[in-house]
């Protein structure tokens, strides 16, 4: 029988990569700073860029540079935007009475990819977790309160992680908004999310948004 893990013992050790060009070495080191990119992969990417036309590489670096310099965060929903207000918030065809509350901009991308949701978003920037030093002050909860109060929001759909921290955040928001006439629902639970919203496949996500539940089924004794 062949032990299944043995092969990795023979994987090359690239920690000691030796370069004949400092320019290549610098580029490799920059790529290797990215998550999920080891030195080996970084080298492969750099060598690929070396093969490409100079204009194409310029287009690549310009896109990355502009993205970082020019990107803005929507002043309404805190999603990424090219202008003060994002393309979703300015779109009059979208249902502005429905707001889906998510943790990060990755969740917006995941839900938008389903093409099943026509409301607006609110990006909290995380969930309540004292263990990670995250309290209400670190999240965009105040701006959510203002939106609900002033912008005719009728339903908030909570699409947060199905964890204690996610539940705490739903409870917190429900308590903050308890005097406002807004219906709070959550995306259907019990569906395998693989931990994070961004990994849920599009069909599952679309189904769970369609089958959302009123908050009483989700947070125990929310109104106590």
């Amino acid at each position: 029988m062949c032990p299944p893990f043995l092969f990795s013992k023979f994987a090359g050790n690239f920690d000691q990569m030796v370069f004949s060009s400092k320019l290549i070495e610098d580029a490799v080191q920059e790529f290797a700073l990215l998550p999920g990119i080891g030195k080996k992969t970084a080298l492969r990417l750099v060598l690929q860029l070396l093969k490409m036309d100079e204009q194409d590489v310029d287009a690549f670096t310009t896109a990355v540079g502009r993205m970082r310099h020019e990107v803005q965060f929507c002043k309404i929903c805190h999603n990424v935007a090219d202008t003060e207000v994002c393309m979703i918030c300015v779109n009059r065809a979208r249902n502005s009475t429905q707001v889906c509350v998510v943790e990060t901009i990755r969740d917006v991308i995941a839900i938008e990819s389903t093409q099943q949701y026509n409301g607006l978003y609110h990006v909290l920037g995380g969930i309540l977790s004292p263990l990670d030093g995250i309290g209400p002050g670190q999240l965009y909860i105040n701006t959510l309160h203002d939106r609900v109060k002033n912008n005719g929001v009728e339903e908030l759909i909570m699409a947060l992680s199905p964890t204690i921290e996610g539940d705490t955040t739903v409870y917190y928001i429900a308590r903050q908004l308890k005097d406002l006439p807004v219906r709070i629902t959550t995306i259907a639970r019990g569906i395998a999310f693989g931990g994070e919203l961004e990994y849920a496949d599009e069909m599952t996500l679309a189904r769970s948004i369609a089958k959302r539940l009123p908050i009483e089924n989700y947070v125990n004794s929310a109104g106590s």
Binding site: M1, P3, P4, F5, L6, S8, K9, L128, S129, P130, L131, G133, G135, P136, I164, E165, D167, T168, Y171, Y172, R175, Q176, A192, V219, N220, S221, S224
Partner: protein, 358 residues
């Protein structure tokens, strides 16, 4: 009855690749010290609970110089075969039953059970309350499926609540909304756990007395006193009432995470006053009562794992232990010993025993 008929170990501690069959009622694993007897026993435990009896860290289970391990056990329960495999690689654990991965690893807990008795177990009597809570939790998690979920949730919220209490020392105005949520959840889960722990003793105590009497030959009365904050107030009341102290000490002072059990033998506190021999009998009685409790509640016999217990046991207790584990209706036994002769002699002629020599 459930049995482990075959086990495969790959890169598990000192084993690079090995396979063993267990066919008799009693399997004795022999070999010199350091040959891996305890590791083989622990591998059987691991297949039942997806964790080591001895090591909290999964990395310690991996053979030096490798990055993962695999265990596979062929179990038999009610004449049905099931192959359980546990893989651990670079921090990721995967448990499969007949090739199908579980949705949640906790779904495996309670399917196959085993009870280990090992030399350091006397700590269950001598050491702090944490070991006793873990021991009771390990039993109740198997016989009551909501118990483990509620316990895990309680423990996570306890961490968040304590972190929240610490955070408040740095803020000017206190917003107690999160605390309200933590309190609600902890009160609900804590109350459930308290009731189950209390109920547990009713079924457990008669078994404990019975095994102690069989081991010691005496008629002493054994008691186990369950000490919990929740016997005075509900947890909801405690969390409310104690808040100013919790805030001052920046941690949750009252709750089921402080529970303890006091072992009492004929009115005497075992931890403080019992002799070494009495403690040993008490420990064996606790473990055998655990075995009997699990088999009664789960409807099948656990596997008894005895790690090096015969060497340090006197003749009278060896005979008493043997008469229990050789009685008809007792389940599979795996044991380790450095001396094959000692075990042959103890079990005598005609015993259904096989030897695995490492």
């Amino acid at each position: 009855m459930s049995r482990l008929n075959k086990i495969i170990l790959v890169q598990f501690r000192n084993y690079s690749s090995a396979s063993y069959q267990f066919t008799a009622a009693v399997t004795c694993i022999t070999g010199p010290n350091g040959s891996g007897k305890t590791n083989l026993l622990d591998a059987a435990y691991y297949l039942c609970y997806t964790k080591s009896y001895f090591n909290a860290s999964q990395q310690n289970n991996v053979q030096a110089g490798t990055d993962g391990f695999r265990l596979e056990g062929t179990f038999e329960k009610d004449a049905r075969k099931e192959i359980i495999s546990c893989k651990w690689k670079q921090g990721k654990k995967e448990i499969l039953a007949n090739g199908v991965e579980y949705d949640r690893i906790t779904d495996h807990i309670g399917k196959f059970s085993s009870v280990m008795i090992a030399p350091d177990d006397i700590a269950l009597i001598n050491d702090g309350s944490e070991l006793r809570r873990k021991w009771v939790d390990s039993i109740l998690s198997q016989v009551d499926s909501p118990y483990l979920d509620k316990l895990l949730r309680y423990q996570r919220i306890l961490l968040q609540r304590n972190a929240w209490l610490k955070m408040q020392s740095t803020v000017t105005t206190i917003d107690a909304t999160e605390l309200e949520y933590y309190n609600n959840c902890m009160a609900e889960d804590g109350q459930y756990i308290y009731e189950r722990r209390k109920q547990f003793l009713q079924g457990f105590l008669p078994l404990l007395n019975d095994f102690y009497h069989r081991l010691s030959g005496g008629k002493e009365i054994l008691q186990v006193a369950y000490e919990s904050d929740l016997s005075q107030k509900t947890l909801a009341e405690w969390l409310q009432y104690n808040l100013q102290y919790d805030m001052r000490y920046q941690r949750t002072l009252r709750g089921i995470h402080k529970d303890d059990w006091v072992f009492v033998l004929s009115g005497m506190n075992v931890k403080q006053y019992a002799s070494q021999g009495q403690k040993k009998s008490f420990l064996f009685a606790l473990k055998l009562a655990q075995y009997a409790f699990l088999s009664k509640e789960m409807g099948h016999l656990p596997i008894l794992l005895l790690d090096d217990v015969f060497e340090k046991l006197d003749q009278q207790r060896i005979e008493a232990l043997l008469s229990i584990i050789r009685a008809p209706g007792f389940g599979q036994v795996l044991l380790t010993d450095t001396h094959e002769d000692r075990i042959r002699l103890a079990f005598g002629q005609g015993a259904d025993i096989e030897f695995v020599r490492l």
